[in-house]
């Protein structure tokens, strides 16, 4: 009797967890693995992937989401952050960077909204140079202050007299890759017609 009871208990406990896994992970995995990469979505280049690693390393995802909400749910559409995101937008994303926080704005289409390399460089070096009220941290370790820049190096146009006399601020390869990645964030192409999984647009 006691044995049967224990068996039922452990069986029940296992079953509840596996059911939840099947519903929330297993079945969606089967359904969504059929999603094809849409036309217009390009694979990340090696440099963009390196930039994406920097994005992860510095924890950008803790303040910036990469998912645009549909009309009627929040103000993403009014803020012109791009069309609502669909599963096909993420086929090349691993790990996913959907994010859960918007201490800063959504970045799903930042490559469309802000195309200026110099803006991004200054913004990473010290966000308050370009957005006075920003609460974003600075990332000085992505830059180097030195006497002369190499031939291929990007020199920042830092306003004011912050840089010591006779020195220049140049972007490290990490900063260049990160900006490259940010500029690649563009999901302005048309969403694939009839998303297999979304019944919203019917």
């Amino acid at each position: 009797m006691m044995f049967i009871r224990s068996f039922v208990f452990f069986f029940g406990v296992l079953a509840t967890l596996l059911l939840g896994w099947a519903a929330l992970v297993g079945i969606p995995d089967i359904m969504i693995s059929e999603v094809k990469p849409p036309e217009g979505l390009e694979r990340y280049t090696a440099e963009e992937l390196f930039g994406r690693q920097i994005y992860i390393r510095e924890g950008c995802l803790y303040c910036h989401s990469q998912q645009v909400r549909p009309e009627g749910f929040g103000a993403d559409q009014d803020r012109l952050w791009g069309r609502p995101s669909v599963p096909a937008d993420y086929v090349y994303d691993r790990p996913h960077l959907l994010g859960t926080m918007r201490t800063g704005p959504d970045l799903m289409n930042i490559g469309v909204r802000q195309t200026s390399v110099s803006w991004h460089m200054l913004h990473l070096y010290d966000p308050r140079l370009v957005v006075e009220e920003s609460t974003m941290p600075p990332y000085p370790w992505l830059f180097e202050v030195k006497r002369t820049a190499g031939p291929d190096e990007y020199i920042l146009d830092v306003p004011g007299n912050r840089v010591p006399e006779g020195k220049v601020v140049v972007a490290t390869p990490e900063a260049e890759a990160l900006v490259e990645y940010l500029l690649s964030l563009d999901r302005s192409f048309d969403a694939p017609q009839r998303e297999v999984t979304n019944d919203d647009d019917e």
Binding site: M2, F9, F10, G12, V13, L14, T16, L17, L19, G20, W21, A23, L24, V25, P28, D29, M31, I32, S33, V35, I56, R57, E58, G59, C60, L61, Y62, C63, R69, F73, G74, A75, D78, R79, V86, P87, D89, Y90, V91, Y92, D93, R94, P95, H96, L97, L98, T100, T103, G104, P105, V131, E133, S134, T135, P137, P138, Y139, W141, N198, D199
Partner: protein, 492 residues
């Protein structure tokens, strides 16, 4: 002390005696034997958990200050917000809560099965591996090797070390359960047994599964929320179910409610995770399933709430005396609050405002701090004197610890709840510029830092007191550190 409260305490003592009257002298001896069988293992888990509590809460405080002083310590890569914040979450979740929880669970398991702990040597390996895993994983985050998924930032190697450590924790618990000398299995033990089966499965699926794109996001939040389902919440509920009746001296209000509470909890809770992705690019049915399950959580929550609060009801006067009870009741009440809030937050209309804001962070701390952490404090206050055979030397420090953490977390949660809601309304109103939605949260973020500072001050006092106790410094006491004096105590 008033005459009335003295009578109340005497009554409670009488009731406690009546409740335990079937026990003989052998029971006390057995309990001592049981406690001795887990002493060093539990103490190791507790001591290392306090180390992580200290580290983790300092990380949290730095992250909190940085939200309103973004240039503070701005030149150090390892301390940047995006690294220190996940380091905070992982050290408090896998270090503090997990290790303190493990220590409590193994002690309770022995007590509830009424046999000395079996295979106790495995727990040394467990504690060692677990600490190594957390240390390695935390260093990896700080030095830039995070996996980039919330709750799963530790590199896979660190995950594997922790998983093996967990197996060495689960085996002694299961072995002790098999050897049990009781017929009736108390509800706390259900939660313990379920969690030792659930946790390894969940942790392995999440750390070693391969998924792409949005499925990975789904898996991420199935895992993230389930860490609460299978581990953090069962620890808290096992503690509340154990200590409320124990300290009050009355049996739990209803066996059937605890049964209903447990199985509805097991059924509904692990379907909740996708409510973290409402409005996101996932199949609508998937999000809806999680919303429904989140609302269904009202059933287990009310079952547990009625059970706990009816047990405590009419005995609130005892909160004046017992430190353990005060922390436990605070935790049990927070559980009801945070769970009902969570169900509400899963509703699309509310989530539209709260998602992507500090409101969620407030909710998380109402759960993991006001509920779990406060219950763990209460449990450690009760268990440690029984292991070390030395009472807490200074009741005043216990009182200070309680008020600093209680007031601190209340300020914290209230500030972020109001500030986060306001932030959400601004964010959803395109007449307000986005940067304004950020700037307007800053006063609330200062308040959050204030609350956090009080909480950390409480931790420092607690850790100091813990060290005094272990070193047997301070006055020797022969009674628990009652806040008031229900019975005569003497300091030698």
């Amino acid at each position: 002390m008033t005459q009335e409260s003295k009578t109340n305490v005497n009554e409670a003592t009488e009731r406690a005696k009546a409740f335990h009257q079937h026990e003989t002298m052998d029971d006390t001896e057995l309990r001592i034997k049981i406690d001795e069988s887990v002493t060093s293992q539990t103490a190791i888990f507790f001591a290392t958990s306090l180390f992580w509590l200290l580290i983790g809460s300092i990380f949290g405080l730095i992250a909190s200050y940085k939200m309103h002083w973004p240039d503070w310590l701005g030149e150090y890569a390892v301390l940047t917000f995006g690294r220190i914040r996940p380091a905070h979450l992982n050290t408090v979740a896998y270090g503090w809560i997990s290790l303190a929880g493990a220590g409590t669970l193994l002690w309770m398991t022995s007590r509830l099965t009424r046999v000395p702990l079996q295979w106790g040597w495995m727990l040394y390996i467990s504690a060692f591996l677990w600490n190594v895993g957390v240390a390695f994983g935390t260093a990896a985050i700080l030095f830039g090797y995070s996996r980039g998924m919330e709750w799963l930032e530790f590199p896979r190697i660190a995950g594997a070390i922790i998983a093996v450590g967990f197996v060495f924790f689960a085996l002694p618990i299961l072995k002790t359960f098999v050897r049990r000398k009781v017929k009736h299995i108390y509800v706390s033990l259900w939660y313990i047994l379920a969690s030792v089966v659930w946790f390894p499965l969940l942790y392995l699926t999440a750390n070693f599964g391969h998924y792409q794109g949005v499925v990975e996001a789904g898996m991420n939040w199935w895992y993230g929320h389930n860490l609460l389902t299978v581990w953090v919440t069962p620890i808290g509920l096992a503690i509340a179910y154990y200590f409320l009746p124990k300290v009050i001296g009355r049996p739990i209000y209803s066996y059937y409610l605890s049964l209903l509470g447990f199985w509805s909890f097991a059924l509904f809770y692990n379907w909740n995770g996708i409510h973290h992705l409402i409005g996101g690019p996932l199949p609508t049915w998937l999000v809806t399933v999680s919303i429904v399950a989140s609302v269904m959580m009202v059933i287990p929550v009310l079952a547990v709430a009625v059970n706990h609060h009816m047990t405590t009801f009419k005995h609130f006067n005892m909160l004046k005396y017992s430190p353990t009870l005060r922390f436990t009741v605070f935790g049990a009440m927070s559980y009801t609050a945070v769970s009902l809030q969570g169900s509400a937050m899963a509703l699309r209309s509310i989530n539209e405002v709260t998602h992507f804001t500090h409101y969620t962070v407030g909710h998380a701390h109402l759960g993991v701090y006001a509920f779990s952490t406060m219950l763990l404090f209460g449990a450690i206050y009760y268990i440690m004197p029984r292991l070390s055979k030395w009472e807490w030397p200074y009741p005043r420090l216990v009182r200070l610890h309680f008020w600093l953490t209680a007031i601190g977390v209340i300020i914290y949660v209230v500030a972020l709840t109001i500030g986060g809601w306001y932030q959400g309304l601004n964010m959803n109103n395109s007449d307000v510029s986005f940067i304004d939605s950020v700037v307007k949260t800053i006063p609330y973020l200062y308040l959050r830092s204030l609350g956090g500072t009080l909480m950390v001050a409480g931790h420092l006092i607690f850790i100091y007191h813990f060290v005094l106790m272990v070193k047997r410094a301070g006055p020797r006491r022969f009674a628990p550190p009652w806040f008031k004096k229900p019975v005569e105590e003497s300091a030698v």
